[in-house]
Symmetry: C2
Subunit: 240 residues, 2 copies
């Protein structure tokens, strides 16, 4: 829960062409010359685990693109109840904004590097490169579809279905990023998972144990899950 100010700010130009996540990030819509201008308004920032990128309610001065590590996005109720609205991985864009303040909080789950864009400068650049809006629209639509899947999960699935769905979606995204997804790296705590799935830590723990006992998964060292039977998990995820 520390602010981003405590971290190293390195101004780096000319690194974008070699960026490992460029194909999936917003930058994929840019020609080389544009990419250079893009890089000129951007800072590469490294954050330690547990640091806040920003908090709900703060003025949204920066937008981010995650290049390594993982980030959690959440909203809070006045009494402290928390709902994760997403987990972000390399290539993901952070800070879709409708208002001038952030409508959710973002915090690192691991050491993280991000490309940070001052909002005003990025907006000015978007004026000149309208095709970037197309890219942003695509990314936002995709996130919207994910959000709708999550609503189905939160509103209508049982604890077991939720956990199975969660593991499968993490795996799916890992594969999208070019990892093999099995064993699956699960960097978030039981409590983070619980707040993502609308459950308690205890229920998540019990359910994971059930899946372990039933032989669908196996827990490995270092926050890694081995999925022993993907098909089984897919059946569980949809309530079969």
């Amino acid at each position: 829960m520390f602010l981003a100010e405590s971290c190293a700010h390195k101004q780096q130009s000319g690194v974008c062409p070699d960026c490992p996540v460029r194909a999936r990030a917003i930058c994929s819509a840019l020609a080389p010359a544009e990419l250079e201008q893009f890089a000129s308004i951007m800072q590469t920032v490294t954050l330690a685990e547990g640091e806040a990128l920003f908090n709900e309610g703060e003025t949204g001065d920066y937008l981010y693109n995650l290049t390594s590590g993982a980030v959690k996005i959440y909203k809070l109720l006045p009494d402290g109840r928390r709902q994760m609205t997403g987990f972000l991985f390399p290539g993901d864009f952070i800070g879709f904004a409708v208002s001038d303040t952030y409508v959710y909080s973002a915090e690192t789950l691991s050491e993280v590097t991000v490309c940070r864009f001052p909002r005003t400068k990025l907006e000015r650049m978007l004026e000149s490169y309208p095709h970037l809006h197309r890219r942003l629209f695509t990314l936002a639509s995709r996130e919207l579809a994910t959000a709708q899947d999550q609503m189905l999960l939160l509103g209508r699935k049982s604890a077991k279905e939720k956990v199975a769905s969660f593991l499968l979606s993490l795996r799916e995204r890992a594969i999208q990023r070019g990892e093999d997804g099995n064993p699956l790296y699960v960097p978030m705590s039981r409590s983070d998972i619980a707040d993502y799935l609308g459950l308690t830590t205890e229920t998540v723990s019990r359910t994971v144990t059930q899946l372990k006992t039933s032989g669908a998964i196996r827990l490995l060292e270092g926050h890694r899950f081995q999925i022993k039977d993907v098909g089984e998990l897919q059946l569980l995820a949809e309530g079969a």
Copy 2:
């Protein structure tokens, strides 16, 4: 659950300039000349209550803009469990697509009129008018924020908080559309509301009764709710 084919298809050009929802719809991004081209690829369609605009899994041949009436958007699990992902009102856009098939179903809650756009033609038009993507991005971002609020509701709020939040958000949107929002028109059934809030019809009914008994609301004729104490409802919605 009937298909849209059974309804009247009226080709109407030149009506857009007078459109009551233009300011809030995607069309607000268009200059008069562009609007005319827009209208030329569009059909105005009227549907009766209970008709499907499209179903999850069908090829997404059309996009829609709702001009009157109300529409429900939902996803289904294989065993029939349903999650509403949204209710749409005049001015709302239907059919943000990431794939070539619809990822949810849309069905009318009342008699409805929509502007219907063939996807391929609209996409071709988007090529020539890139600023439309900006508009689409804004609309998608807004929907994304709404979806995140809904995740918080589904994952972390009690039945009472859910119902209170629901009524307030309906009211908020009615006000945005220029209606006064009190009494509030609630065109959806208890079952629709339940599937939106992740509850059962019985629980929604009981909770509404509670709100009625506590004096926060009053039920009027014709699917109308009078909110007697907005502040009270706002407190309930956030768990105070």
